[in-house]
């Protein structure tokens, strides 16, 4: 029975080779050139999946990207891909695929009983249960029953690439129109990129190999075009490449499937699996073709029902009989193409059911001449057959096409080829913001007005369905694009390719909802969106419930929202809504088209930017030392900072407590290299700093340091840090680690845009210096031993800096403190960082020098009530809120953000203000972010929130838990009791001053 539905000859397949593959655990054979779908059909397999909601048996419906039903799980973990369209999967030897979403098996699916319960699952079901009774009652079973494929469980082992391309002309689509456009422009010497999603060029010509172009059979013309394009040095043809997105200014995304069509064991190792092309094109020609529209009739979803164009494609391109006994349903002339192809292939053709009152058109006439029975003015009123179509019922319609007469005559068939007209593939055009118009004659939406310059839409995508006309249009667009890109003609150019008028499918009868013997929704379903199981009755329900906008109807019913994005369903949904509301189709309008056209692998978006290459990691010169000490690291921006240094047997809490204690008791050392450092230089540097800081810097003496606060113009704290005056015209500004880049941007912005007359130059020197802070009672002693600096408080007072040698290396030393202890920040050129650090560690051994990480640093500063920007502040906190009025200059007439501090809102007494918090228990450390309320839990909700905890630690030096918090009107609440309601208990606490240790600040001075 191998390939018993394969025709003895014909098709673009290599019959000399056989490929083995498996589907649903069974083995089959196919040929190179097959898709998984064509190979399955060659083996007589139509049933390939179960539907999303009702678990109805579903078959192969199309032969391309529009496929709603034939979604399979391809391959095995870790190389498995869900929701792959069998119609686009190229067959390779050893391919394995499984049906999705059926349990326990494809043929017997227990969830199919959901179909019986479908009247309890109307559209908008889950929206309704949000309101009543309770979505949670239904969530479990529905989540179990719904869904499509499954994601791989293991990390993706494949490699993906990204590449950028620039071209004079990007042509999307390698069918006749695309080839004509590419040839016209390519011959002029333009750099052309032609993108085709299929494995081979030709488009629909592959399914009609005997149409003629320039007197040649189409297949030969395509081959000649391919060869010529290949010979043009500036032309590149990408097959297996889908242009999935069209962004502004002719920027397009293309996914190239580089090795997906190889058996996994034979994939060339030097190639990525897929490649993402980011294309910027001077000109774009969209030749994306058209997709056939199925008529919507009752029970139109059984395996064996497929698009007429797909039936033709399987016969002509792949030499596969899609059925044994066929019926055709059409509302236009093009459906007769399938009828003729079926008859020629020897398929038993029962009849053509034509919704039109009279079967007109060249193909209809040809079919009549060949003796094919035609029933015009008839409808298919329903179908039967569980796992495969067995019969269809046919009845005459009234003149309006709204009713049928009689119960319907059963006609035995296992294939029903359907055509309801054609929709231009306008997805990319619409993504680029082009607008559509409804073409009354063609009964389709076609491009009307482009929003992009330098763009053309040609061929089927433009509603130009006649081959000869499409070729002329495309050729002209190709020439125009070349011209616009600067490639003038020579005057002796070739004419557009010539062909006959094939594809003329007029006249067409617009019936969006084919009548049945019972009202819509009874006795069966008229499926509109097969992938999301949306039936016409769901659309009508949405209309009954008052939805009018097509965007709302779409969301309420989820029509067009599945992975196929409604390629075969959207226009039908619009048509049915229009019919029902008695409005013309264009008044209902279209829904928005968004990228991607077809799904794109996450791996392709990521390319090589994964793992260590995802984001740059910045490390300090002492990083290796921290690692050797077993430090735990935390990410601060892109920096890796030592978080704490656990000794054997220590957890984080113990290690941090030890580091904090050791620093206050004797000596700690911190790697502070990551702090942002910006040199501010120039004759106007001091004046500039006066404008960007809240406090005065022009009065700062050379050799002295000052802490500064920066505000945004809204008065909110933006960054802080210590700035030192190195010389009259030279300052060294430090910023927070995470804020360094933003601060540099902020300063640059003002210098360039508002104060360009100021002579100030900014240089980031963060990475040029290694910074280590020694802090604690023994800091001075240690520094004295390893440097030539004079450290007495006269020469080197607090908030000053000196240059000298530390461990033999030229250093800048700043006597500033973020711990409240006497501290020295030693800066040496980065390349000496590790050597100086190691010297300090060796020399400090006698003082039990203890390296401390960022966590201990946080505890030490919190003990002193020093804020951290971004922790105590969140963009809504002013210096006044922080109790830092002392740093806001009263003398300066202006600085950034100053005026905002005088807005009435800033003066309100109930603004959240910084306070200290101590828990009543003393041992209880509150979680950061905990909300604070005034009542102890007995009050009925809603309970007003009066504040939240911003920092919270165990303080070994205070012997109790300490916290900082922002509390409404907090500065006037000292001593007041508040409560922190936590998940399992409520903690009572007291508001205190935000300084817990050494309130007088005496330890700074040793």
């Amino acid at each position: 029975m191998a390939q018993s539905f394969r025709l003895p000859e014909g098709g673009v397949i290599d019959r000399s080779k056989s490929l083995r593959f498996s589907f649903d655990g069974r083995s089959y054979e196919g040929h190179p050139g097959d898709t998984l779908a064509s190979a399955l059909l060659a083996n007589g397999v139509h049933l390939v999946g179960r539907s999303f909601k009702y678990h109805r048996p579903r078959g192969i419906f199309s032969a391309g990207a529009e496929e709603p039903n034939a979604l399979v799980q391809l391959g095995e973990d870790p190389r498995t891909d869900p929701n792959q369209r069998a119609t686009q999967v190229e067959l390779f030897d050893g391919l394995t695929a499984m049906p999705q979403h059926c349990w326990p098996s494809l043929e017997f699916d227990l969830n199919e009983t959901a179909s019986l319960a479908s009247r309890f699952l109307p559209s908008g079901f889950y929206y309704k249960t949000f309101m009543w009774p309770n979505w949670k009652l239904f969530e479990g079973p529905i989540r179990h029953a719904a869904g499509l494929g499954r994601a791989p469980r293991l990390p993706d082992p494949d490699r993906y690439d990204k590449t950028y391309a620039h071209c004079d002309l990007l042509v999307v689509g390698g069918g006749p129109a695309g080839l004509a456009a590419a040839l016209a422009a390519g011959r002029r010497g333009a750099r052309v990129l032609l993108v085709e999603q299929d494995s081979t060029l030709g488009g629909h010509l592959l399914s009609s190999p005997d149409s003629e172009i320039d007197g040649q059979p189409a297949a030969e013309w395509v081959e000649a075009a391919r060869a010529e394009l290949e010979s043009l040095p500036e032309v590149r043809v990408l097959t297996r490449s889908t242009c999935f997105a069209y962004y502004d200014h002719n920027f397009l995304g293309v996914l190239e499937k580089v090795t997906d069509h190889y058996a996994p064991y034979s994939r060339p190792q030097h190639l990525p699996r897929q490649r993402m092309w980011k294309v910027r094109a001077a000109q774009v020609v969209l030749a994306s073709g058209a997709i056939e529209r199925p008529p919507v009739f009752r029970d139109n979803d059984r395996p064996g029902i497929m698009l007429a164009s797909a039936a033709s494609a399987y016969l002509r391109r792949w030499g596969v009989k899609p059925g044994g006994r066929a019926l055709v349903l059409t509302n236009n002339d093009s459906g007769y193409r399938a009828a003729l192809d079926l008859k020629n292939a020897g398929v038993d053709l029962a009849a053509v059911i034509d919704l039109r009152l009279a079967a007109e058109g060249p193909l209809s006439a040809q079919a009549r001449d060949e003796g094919i029975p035609i029933r015009s003015g008839h409808a298919v009123t329903g179908t039967q057959g569980h796992l495969r179509l067995r019969k269809a019922f046919v009845a005459p319609m009234d003149g309006e096409g709204r009713r049928v007469f009689g119960g319907g005559e059963p006609i035995e068939c296992d294939l029903l080829a359907v055509s309801g007209g054609w929709n231009p593939t306008v997805h990319l055009f619409c993504q680029s913001k082009g607008s559509l118009e409804w073409d009354e004659q063609l009964a389709c939406f076609r491009p009307a007005r482009s929003m992009q310059r330098n763009q053309a839409v040609v061929g089927g995508a433009n509603g130009t369905f006649a081959l000869g006309e499409a070729l002329r249009e495309a050729h002209a667009a190709g020439l125009q694009a070349a011209e616009a890109a600067g490639f003038a003609g020579s005057g002796s150019e070739r004419q557009a390719p010539r062909a006959g008028g094939e594809g003329d499918f007029l006249p067409l009868r617009e019936i969006y909802l084919v009548p049945s013997i019972q009202p819509v929704g009874q006795g069966g379903k008229h499926f509109v969106d097969q992938q999301h199981d949306v039936a016409a009755s769901d659309l009508l329900l949405a209309l009954r419930e008052g939805y009018r906008s097509i965007e709302h109807v779409k969301r309420y019913t989820t029509t067009g929202m599945a992975t196929d994005q409604g390629k075969t369903s959207n226009v039908n949904a619009i048509g049915i809504v229009a019919e029902h509301l008695g409005k013309p189709v264009p008044e209902v309008g279209v829904t928005t088209f968004r990228p991607p056209y077809t799904a794109v692998t996450f791996g392709a978006f990521a390319g090589r930017d994964v793992d260590g290459l995802l984001d740059p990691e910045r490390t300090t010169p002492m990083h290796g030392w921290h690692q050797a000490q077993g430090a735990a690291f935390e990410d601060v921006g892109q920096w890796k900072r030592a978080w704490y240094y656990p000794r054997p047997g220590e957890d984080m809490h113990t290690a941090v407590a030890r580091e904090v204690k050791a620093t206050r008791d004797s000596l700690g050392i911190l790697d502070a290299t990551t702090l942002g450092k910006i040199e501010v230089r120039g004759p106007d540097a001091a004046r500039f700093l006066d404008l960007v800081y809240t406090n005065m810097f022009s009065t700062l003496k050379v050799g002295r340091c000052r802490y500064g606060l920066m505000l945004k113009e809204d008065g909110m704290v933006f960054d802080d840090g210590v700035t030192s005056r190195l010389a009259e015209d030279r300052f060294l500004m430090t910023t927070t680690t995470g804020g360094a880049a933003n601060v540099l941007d902020w300063l640059e912005e003002w210098l360039q845009t508002e104060w360009p007359e100021m002579k100030v130059y900014l240089t980031s020197v963060t990475e040029q210096w290694a910074t280590m802070t020694i802090s604690g009672p023994k800091a001075k002693a240690l520094l004295g031993e390893v440097s030539d600096l004079k450290l007495d408080s006269e020469t080197f007072p607090h908030m000053s800096f000196a240059e000298g040698r530390v461990a033999g290396v030229k250093a800048r030393v700043f006597r500033i403190s973020f711990t409240g202890e006497m501290s020295f920040e030693i800066n040496v050129p980065a390349r000496y960082g590790l050597a100086v650090w190691e010297t300090l560690i060796r020399a400090g051994a006698k003082y039990a020098i203890t390296p401390y990480g960022t966590e201990a640093m946080h505890v030490l500063r919190a003990e002193k009530g020093f804020i951290i920007v971004g922790q105590e502040t969140d963009g809504s906190v002013t210096p006044l809120d922080l109790g830092m009025n002392w740093i806001v200059s009263k003398k300066k007439p202006d600085f950034l953000g100053r005026r905002s501090l005088f807005r009435p809102d800033m003066q309100k007494p109930d603004r959240k203000q910084l306070v200290g918090i101590e828990t009543e228990d003393g041992r209880e450390v509150l979680p950061e972010g905990a909300q604070l309320v005034e009542s102890n839990g007995a009050a009925r909700p809603p309970v007003p929130m009066v504040g939240h905890v911003t920092s919270s630690y165990w303080s070994p030096n205070c012997g109790k838990a300490i916290a900082l918090a922002l509390v409404k009107g907090g500065q006037a609440r000292m001593g007041q009791r508040l409560y922190a309601p936590l998940a399992d208990r409520t903690v009572a606490c007291t508001i205190t001053e935000p300084v817990f240790f050494d309130k007088a600040g005496e330890r700074l001075h040793g």
Partner: protein
């Protein structure tokens, strides 16, 4: 994705730039002299036109210079690019329904 013609580096992709909002909002010379409403207007309020907008961009991953762009917010077409401090070029307003 916009293609922005940096006056210093030439046409580059939008990802190289950072956005700076509406252009030609001069910082008041004497903020203290402004009423709360006038100050709020400067700090918070910006036009959101359908059509022509003049806005600031910075070539963050290039020359790091700020400059002005005149753009149509409907078509996203960039009409012209001009340096900081230059008078805004006279462009016809673009009206959309």
């Amino acid at each position: 994705m916009l293609l922005i013609d940096c006056p210093h580096c030439g046409p580059r992709s939008e990802t190289e730039f950072s956005y700076g909002g509406e252009a030609h909002i001069a910082r008041p010379l004497d903020p203290a002299a402004l009423s709360d409403a006038e100050w709020a207007d400067y700090v918070f309020l910006r036009d959101n036109p359908k059509g022509l907008i003049r806005e600031r961009w910075m070539h963050a991953h290039g020359c790091r210079r700020w400059f002005n762009v005149a753009r149509d917010t409907v078509t996203y077409e960039i009409l012209t690019v001009y340096p900081m401090g230059a008078e805004p070029p006279d462009l016809p307003e673009r009206r959309y329904p």
